[in-house]
């Protein structure tokens, strides 16, 4: 076992040297590979997401709905509790919630909705619904970008059957590449990736039994996206 690493790397080098001939023997390709890692240059980005703000948000909504998510808009974060209560009531769902610490009281006035019973923390499987905060929305495919962390436990994204995600309209970008750049800017040098980045495009589904499409395989059966229109900086 102890030699496996050097054996494998040796075998790789030998195979490449044999195949690549002399140009492989010089170091230019390693230099260009290091540069590629440092530059993290974007490849071809489809034009689809390159839109003005309003059209971008509209595309995000269209694509998310295409992926079977539902979308609502509120004018400010303080409107979130009312929208969540409305959504749960409309779908005949229990009025209990587990919310991510990043969007719990007092940041969000949950207690104002007296019908809602709200706890904060991670999910353990007993919850019927969760609310968490997206880092970004990607218009290209109606995808949410969730970052793990103390403020936003990953389990909230997957265990409860209903998942409500909050995203600011200003955080909806055209393409995935923009979110990588934002993440790099936000993070420390070399350590910008949180433990988990979750792209979520619609609710969980499977077609494993007779190719019949069913929602809610292991993850949430319902994904409800609440877009907050006023400028609110990410927590």
């Amino acid at each position: 076992m102890s030699n496996a690493r050097s054996d494998i790397l040796g075998a790789v080098k030998a195979a490449l040297q044999q195949a690549g001939g002399p140009q492989r023997a010089d170091t230019t390709s390693v230099v260009s590979a290091s540069k590629r890692l440092g530059d993290h240059r974007a490849n071809l980005i489809p034009a689809r997401g390159r839109l003005g703000v309003k059209a971008r948000v509209d595309l995000f909504i269209r694509e998310a709905e295409q992926a079977s998510a539902t979308v609502a808009r509120v004018s400010g974060l303080s409107g979130l509790p009312r929208e969540v209560a409305r959504y749960l009531a409309k779908n005949n769902l229990p009025m209990t919630l587990k919310v991510a610490p990043g969007i719990s009281e007092p940041a969000i006035p949950w207690t104002r909705e007296t019908l809602l019973s709200v706890e904060e923390g991670r999910a353990d499987g007993s919850e019927s619904a969760s609310v968490s905060r997206a880092f970004a929305g990607i218009a290209e495919t109606g995808t949410l970008v969730m970052l793990s962390g103390p403020e936003n436990p990953t389990t909230l994204n997957f265990l409860p059957p209903t998942h409500v995600v909050v995203v600011a309209a200003s955080e909806i970008v055209g393409d995935y590449e923009e979110t990588w750049n934002r993440l790099r800017e936000k993070g420390q040098q070399g350590r910008f990736m949180p433990r988990a980045v979750n792209w979520i495009t619609g609710p969980s589904r499977t077609a494993d039994i007779e190719q019949t499409l069913l929602m809610g395989a292991h993850g949430p059966q319902r994904l409800h996206i609440v877009i907050v229109d006023e400028e609110t900086p990410a927590p």
């Binding site: 075998a11 793990s148 292991h218």
Partner: protein
């Protein structure tokens, strides 16, 4: 896993006679390709993205050692561990050791073709650890002790009645009178059963669609969310991945993700795409305490730089299966091992031996559809031919076809002899076939006439003889 690839003929015959399988396969071949076409039509850049994805993989393969070392360094920085394994056996040992150190009794698993390749489930079971597949299709075939019949839709071959029977047999603690008539009821039952496994598991074992050298992240793509529960609930996350899964940057991974789901299921993007980087961080309320990546060679370095080099571009989307008329006819189990379809027919001989898997490269019309739809443009037909060449060189080709072929080649190299034999044969067959214009059976042509008539040659001789007899007299 034991292979039944040598019995390909028998496997295929059985599959062709299975009416339920026929239904499932025709549904598959109607559904996925149509959805892929729709997704392509929505994205004008799709062809250019395929080129970009191919170029990324080519660049990685040409610098594979560099990117593997970079990936390892970033994993370690993020608090994880990389285990290099030359063979399936080494990978099994490494995984078992991690599980034992963690005191694991139950291991939940995300779908992993590498897991199938190294038969990790059997190994864990032998050592008293319960592996639980959590992808719905994988869970069903695990209960039935079957291999997957499709790399992204492993239980595609089963009807809901078969699944219901399996659940009744295996879920004995549930009421025998419960209704399992609808797929929804089956899903709900599996979801409940697996919920308990997820919560109680000690180790989560997943594959990886990609490894990212820039950040030491591993990428998981699912529609169910099972992989996410697999890594986020247990104390230990083990990732098993083969070497060629590494890509340089997040941007490169993103480009490949743009073609992956569209090629596989026709979705714009799979529901869950996850980038895991190391174990739980300070302050995190959830996530695994330990993060291990088992990096497996198992024949990849032998493919590198050789005739099957481009096969290492494969991103396991299943498009070549979905579009293959042979796969559509016989399904995945006929291939007799964990992979199937055109990519399987190229990979399997390299992994279990050409002697064992000799049928696979031959059971193809080389129609080219697989290469046509491959998101990373792997020249699959060329590789099937390369295997045939190796068979021929090693004299593994059957003696009947070998001598038949030799006879034909002997004639084809000698135009005068060819003309002589052709004129006699054509004249004879034309007379014999005159009344009907075709043959229902003919000596030595049973392979043809079992299912089809054979059109008889036109009367009057071969074209070359008639043309030159008629005095066109040129070019001779």
């Amino acid at each position: 896993m034991e292979s039944t690839t040598a019995a390909f003929r028998e496997n295929a015959a059985k599959a062709l006679g299975d009416a339920k399988l026929r239904d499932a396969l025709s549904k598959l071949a109607d559904g996925f390709p149509a959805r892929r076409r729709e997704a392509m039509a929505r994205l004008p850049e799709f062809e250019a993205l395929r080129d970009a994805a191919r170029d990324i993989k080519d660049h990685v393969l040409a610098n594979l050692d560099f990117y593997l070392e970079a990936f390892e360094a970033r994993v370690v920085e993020a608090g994880g561990t990389v285990h290099w394994c030359r063979t399936a056996a080494e990978a099994r040992t490494a995984i078992l050791r991690i599980c034992k150190l963690a005191g694991a009794k139950t291991v939940t698993k995300g779908k992993s073709m590498i897991g199938e390749e190294i038969a990790i489930n059997e190994h864990l079971e032998e050592h008293g650890i319960e592996p639980v597949e959590t992808d719905l299709g994988e869970y069903i075939i695990q209960l039935r002790h079957e291999p997957p019949s499709h790399i992204i839709a492993p239980a595609i071959h089963l009807s809901k009645e078969q699944v219901a029977d399996t659940f009744r047999e295996k879920h004995r603690h549930l009421s025998p009178g419960r209704s399992l008539d609808e797929p929804r009821a089956l899903l709900d039952e599996a979801r409940n059963e697996l919920r308990q496994k997820f919560i109680g598991a000690d180790v989560g074992l997943t594959g990886a669609n990609m490894l990212i050298a820039e950040t030491g992240s591993i990428v998981l793509v699912t529609n169910e969310g099972n992989a996410d529960l697999t890594y986020s609930l247990p104390r230990v996350h083990i990732v098993i991945a083969s070497l060629e899964k590494v890509v340089p940057t997040l941007e490169d991974a993103t480009t490949i993700l743009r073609v992956l789901a569209r090629s596989a299921t026709g979705q714009e993007m799979s529901v869950y795409t996850t980038f895991c980087t190391g174990p739980k961080r300070e302050g995190d309320l959830d996530g695994p305490e330990a993060f291990h990546v088992v990096l497996l060679d198992n024949g990849r370095t032998e493919m590198l730089g050789g005739d099957f080099h481009e096969m290492l571009r494969c991103i396991r989307c299943g498009a070549c299966l979905n579009h293959c008329p042979i796969y559509k006819a016989i399904g995945g189990h006929a291939y007799g091992w964990v992979y199937s379809g055109p990519m399987g027919a190229v990979l399997i001989p390299g992994l279990i031996g050409l002697e064992e898997a000799g049928h696979l490269p031959n059971a193809s019309t080389l129609c080219g559809k697989c290469e046509d739809v491959c998101p990373v443009r792997i020249p699959l037909p060329r590789m099937l031919r390369t295997w045939r060449q190796r068979q021929f060189e090693k004299r593994l080709t059957s003696s009947v076809s070998r001598s038949g072929l030799k006879f034909w080649s002997h004639l084809a190299r000698r135009p005068w002899l060819y003309r002589l034999v052709a004129d006699i044969a054509v004249a004879t067959l034309a007379v014999l076939g005159r009344s009907r214009g075709r043959f229902r059976r003919l000596p030595l042509a049973g392979g043809w006439t079992k299912l089809r008539d054979l059109p008889a040659p036109e009367e009057g001789g071969t074209f070359i003889s008639r043309y030159h007899r008629a005095g066109h007299g040129d070019g001779a």
